[in-house]
């Protein structure tokens, strides 16, 4: 009886660990400029956070998904940007490159449904913003 209870607890812990670490992360590359253009409708779910940034227009340049946990998953995106992901949702290493040049390396814990904005990458007209969101 007691062993069965221990097994159930272990299964619950494993299930919880799986829930905590598994998921699909969406990756969106956004171009923010001061030109008039408004918000891309494909960014409506994150319009609140993007709207807090001081730009007039937000356009979606590229998007992809990454299955977590990830093992050195490399995503080539528009305008020469490359994103490399490695790890679990609770400990995800992210590396962003531009035309082979490393720009940013960061390690983060991502919460489900709460976007992480990595921004400030310059363009001629504005900034590149990378939006990561675990669904």
């Amino acid at each position: 009886m007691m062993r069965r209870r221990i097994k159930l607890i272990a299964l619950a812990l494993m299930f919880g660990a799986c829930l905590a670490s598994a998921g699909t992360m969406s990756v969106r590359l956004v171009h923010a400029t001061d030109a008039e253009g408004g918000m891309d409708p494909r960014l409506s779910d994150i319009s609140g956070i993007l709207g807090s940034l001081r730009f007039e227009s937000f356009s979606l340049l590229d998007s992809d998904t990454v299955r977590l946990p990830a093992e050195e998953v490399r995503i080539r995106m528009a305008q020469g940007y490359t994103l490399t992901c490695n790890g679990t949702q609770g400990d995800l290493a992210i590396e962003m490159n531009h035309n082979g040049q490393a720009l940013l390396k960061t390690t983060a814990t991502l919460r489900r449904g709460k976007p992480l904005i990595l921004g400030g990458f310059p363009t001629r007209e504005g900034k590149i913003i990378l939006v990561l969101k675990v669904e």
Binding site: I6, A17, Q101, I117
Partner: protein
């Protein structure tokens, strides 16, 4: 019986003429018996039924069955070290999800692992554990926006060659 004076008895019977007692045949005897028995009834109390298992024996048997069943159902405490060695033992534990205190109780009857405050749902904002900007920049701002449940890492003054 062998010591009886049979000869004298026989002689006496002959002298008294009692040796010629008329003998009826069996048919006549039973016919006369049935005639006398006609109309007569035999009114004797019926014997009590035979009791194979008296009440006290049944009660004792039931009691014995109950005691035996109870003895089989109640686990006997074990002082055998071999049996005790089969109890579960927690050698290491890691809880991946957010949680509070972990309580373990290993007694003679079993092992309990209790994780307090286990949160299967994501809670709190994202967390930037570490970052490294590889190119020239002026500043980095990290901000958690509670109103939109978002986290922003913004690199100021980045220059791309």
């Amino acid at each position: 019986m062998k010591n009886m004076p049979w000869r004298e008895i026989e002689k006496t019977l002959r002298e008294t003429g009692r040796d010629d007692v008329p003998v009826r045949d069996s048919d006549a005897f039973w016919a006369a018996f049935k005639d006398r028995a006609e109309g007569e009834t035999r009114n004797e109390p019926a014997p009590a039924p035979v009791v194979l298992f008296p009440a006290w024996l049944k009660a004792a048997a039931c009691f014995a069955v109950i005691v035996t069943a109870a003895a089989l159902l109640i686990p006997a405490p074990s002082n055998n070290s071999i049996v005790d060695a089969e109890l579960s033992e927690i050698t290491a534990i890691e809880v991946a999800a957010a949680h509070g205190e972990i309580t373990t109780d290993e007694s003679a009857e079993g092992t309990i692992v209790w994780v307090h405050g286990l949160e299967l749902e994501d809670a709190g904002p994202n967390q930037i554990k570490a970052f490294d900007v590889a190119v020239d920049h002026s500043a980095v701002t990290i901000m958690n926006d509670e109103s939109t449940n978002s986290t922003i890492l913004w690199i100021h003054g980045m220059e791309l060659k």
